[in-house]
């Protein structure tokens, strides 16, 4: 044991991967750290991207360094000198591989510690996701084993660069083969952390636990690959007993890797946007995560999952004009409550389904889905608030008034009038900017409610919107039931 420790110490001191650590750290900072830390402070988002990009950062220098170390004895003309020593060849090679892997893991753990440490200081809820980090960590021994085996078996100076380049392209191009098929075997690639078609999505793994099914299969595959490659190195030049053991280890590794690939072939996206593998699935992970929402002190409280608390102020500001209009009136929601996104599992693209209004514990609740929970480009806080304002604001009003297709002209006019209020009152400078047309997709006030400019309904809506707020509230308090019942005409509107 002392001898092995000393050998490992020597190998650690003279390992090519030690020289590559600064390169990897710079790569990581340049392509992963800056990208990940620019994302909203959500564990799910950052962990998923950390897995994907860190593996890509590490694969080339790591595989190349391992191949360089694997070919070292031949390149340095020491093959004969070490061959005629009594220590088993596999033990000698394993020490070199282990040193390479240890350096890689040290670099990786350092990178993850920085990202997770910084994120821990920024997020308001939830905890770090360890499975994505574990998959990336498990990929390191597999890639070192790949490079090292290539170096041992083909000990030329070209082996290292060729192996590094091939490993990079195989890794990156493997995801191209996933396509739209949720059952693709290629999801075994360690850069896949969530349903590949949805990409990293802040809507997953917050309201429901992160499903480790895919991660477990990936770790199993990577461990199998590493064991197979290392076992292969002990199949020649050893005693019969060692060769037999190596054969068993190699077969076991192959079986593990093949089983993992087959398991991934049975995967499918679950309603919460994560990959589920029936044979590995733990039903306990289907239960929602218990949390106490953080709520604003608006006329109607806006309540979000603590993980999204960074959006609370802007979301409240976006909805406050509408909420002030309807707060306390009969039929107004008691709370605006953020809900989990639900994914259409039969959809090839896994688009989310918006929640509907409903009752929670007997109180009227409007269920809110923040735009950042949906698929699409990452949004800033201001962009998120803008979309909430122009999507959920009119929706809340429409639900409250009963406006929409089949409703009376008066209902639609009142709904449009209340929605126009959104564009008139805003304390948030970002939201005011949105109203000036700076935010993409923000509707102009004249288009609100689907009313056509110049019509009687539109005139009535503008007239109603122009009333003092207290006058509108007083009128609504006394006429709301009749308005919802379709018994109010446009001419009866004040």
């Amino acid at each position: 044991m002392i001898a092995v420790t000393r050998m490992l110490r020597l190998e650690l001191r003279h390992n090519a991967m030690a020289l590559m650590v600064p390169v990897v750290v710079v790569l990581f900072w340049f392509t992963t750290y800056r990208r990940v830390m620019a994302m909203p402070p959500l564990w799910n988002l950052r962990a998923a991207d950390l897995q994907m990009y860190s593996v890509v950062d590490f694969v080339t220098p790591l595989t190349g360094a391992a191949a360089w170390m694997g070919s070292r004895e031949s390149r340095r003309r020491l093959a004969d000198a070490v061959l005629i020593t009594p220590r088993a060849r596999w033990a000698r090679l394993l020490a070199t591989w282990a040193a390479t892997t240890i350096w890689a893991l040290v670099a990786y753990v350092g990178c993850v510690a920085v990202v997770y440490g910084m994120t821990a200081g920024q997020v308001a809820g939830g905890g770090p996701l360890w499975w994505p980090a574990a998959v990336a960590a498990a990929s390191l021994p597999a890639f070192t084993a790949l490079g090292f085996a290539a170096g041992v078996l083909a000990p030329t100076r070209l082996t290292a660069p060729v192996t590094a380049i091939v490993a990079f392209f195989v890794l990156v191009l493997s995801t191209e083969l996933i396509g739209h098929n949720g059952h693709s075997y290629w999801q075994i690639a360690p850069i896949v952390s969530v349903a590949w078609n949805t990409g990293s999505n802040p809507g997953v793994a917050t309201f429901y636990p992160y499903l480790p099914d895919l991660s477990i299969a990936q770790v199993m595959f990577l461990a199998g690959v590493a064991v197979t490659l290392l076992g292969t190195l002990a199949l020649v030049g050893e005693s019969r007993a060692v060769r037999a053991a190596a054969g068993g280890v190699t077969a076991a590794g192959l079986a593990a890797a093949a089983t993992a690939v087959l398991l991934v072939g049975t995967s499918a996206m679950d309603p919460h946007g994560m990959m589920r593998i029936p044979a590995l699935h733990d039903a306990a992970n289907d239960r929602p995560v218990q949390f106490t929402p953080v709520c604003s002190h608006a006329a109607i409280p806006v309540c979000l999952n603590p993980a999204y608390s960074a959006y609370l102020a802007s979301t409240t500001a976006a909805l406050e004009p509408v909420l002030n209009e309807i707060a306390g009136l009969p039929g107004a929601p008691a709370r605006i409550l953020q809900e989990a996104a639900t994914y259409r599992v039969d959809s090839r693209d896994g688009e989310e389904v918006r929640p509907t209004e409903g009752n929670t514990n007997g109180e009227a609740v409007y269920h809110l889905l923040l735009p950042v929970q949906m698929l699409g480009p990452t949004l800033t806080t201001a962009q998120t608030a803008s979309q909430v304002k122009w999507t959920d604001g009119p929706d809340i009003v429409a639900n409250f008034i009963g406006a929409g297709p089949g409703a009376s002209q008066a209902q639609n006019a009142v709904a449009a009038a209340l929605t126009m209020v959104l564009g008139r009152v805003s304390a948030d400078p970002n939201l005011r900017a949105d109203l000036n047309g700076e935010a993409p997709g923000g509707p102009g006030p004249s288009e609100l409610g689907g009313l056509i400019r110049g019509t009687a309904a539109q005139s009535a809506a503008e007239r109603f919107a122009a009333l003092p707020a207290q006058t509108r509230r007083a009128w609504l308090a006394s006429h709301l039931a009749a308005l919802r019942a379709g018994q109010i005409t446009l001419s009866q509107l004040p």
């Binding site: 000393r6 020597l10 340095r76 093959a79 070490v82 005629i84 020593t85 220590r87 050893e238």
Partner: protein, 253 residues
Amino acid sequence: MNENSAMNVEITGLTRRFGSATAVAGVDLRAGPGVFGLLGPNGAGKTTLLRMMATAVSPTSGQLRLLGRDPAGYGPRREIRRRLGYLPQNPGYYPGFTVTEFVEYFALLKEVPAGTVRQAVATAIDRVGLADRRKHRLRTLSGGMLRRACIAQAIVNEPELVLFDEPTAGLDPQQRVTFRALLRELGQHATVVVSTHLVEDVGAACAEVALMDRGRIVFQGTPDELMACADGQAAGDTPLERGYTAALDRAQS
């Protein structure tokens, strides 16, 4: 102790072919403790014979017994390797290692008991005269010093069978003299086989010598017997060189 038990190298009809080329053709050789010189021109088969004796390559045919064991089996081969020292013709090295680290690395590979590694390394480095360079990286050493560092790795396990392939190549005259003293010292306890084409090394250090040509041993005897082979027409500056040339001419005629 009878004669057979003292023979650390027993070779009978040893042959090694590489494709259609025969590098070693039916060599018979026996060597006990002492320094044994293996002479011969380039391409005579010395290195291949030494590599077979080092268990680096296996013979195509013939019998090979080293330290009383047959290296064909894994267990005996491992035991032989534990008691073997080998300096290849073109010894490699890891440039980033210090002299101490390089020799320690081989001590660990040779399964020198963990408790004695440090002392064994220091002793080996002292014996090759590199004590003052022990902390220097190999890439900073001269060719002669590198050669000595490689000799240190070969003897770090106090081997009973030492195989040196062209050990004095690259050494300056003073270093060669020192090295010959080391050979004589090693030969007191071990069988040392030295392959060389420098006949003065043989004359100075070897008790017995074999001359190889085209894969065969064409002469075996003492250096004095080799000198006696010289006739009046053989080329050479020293009696041993003239004996070497005469024996070789006789084999090739």
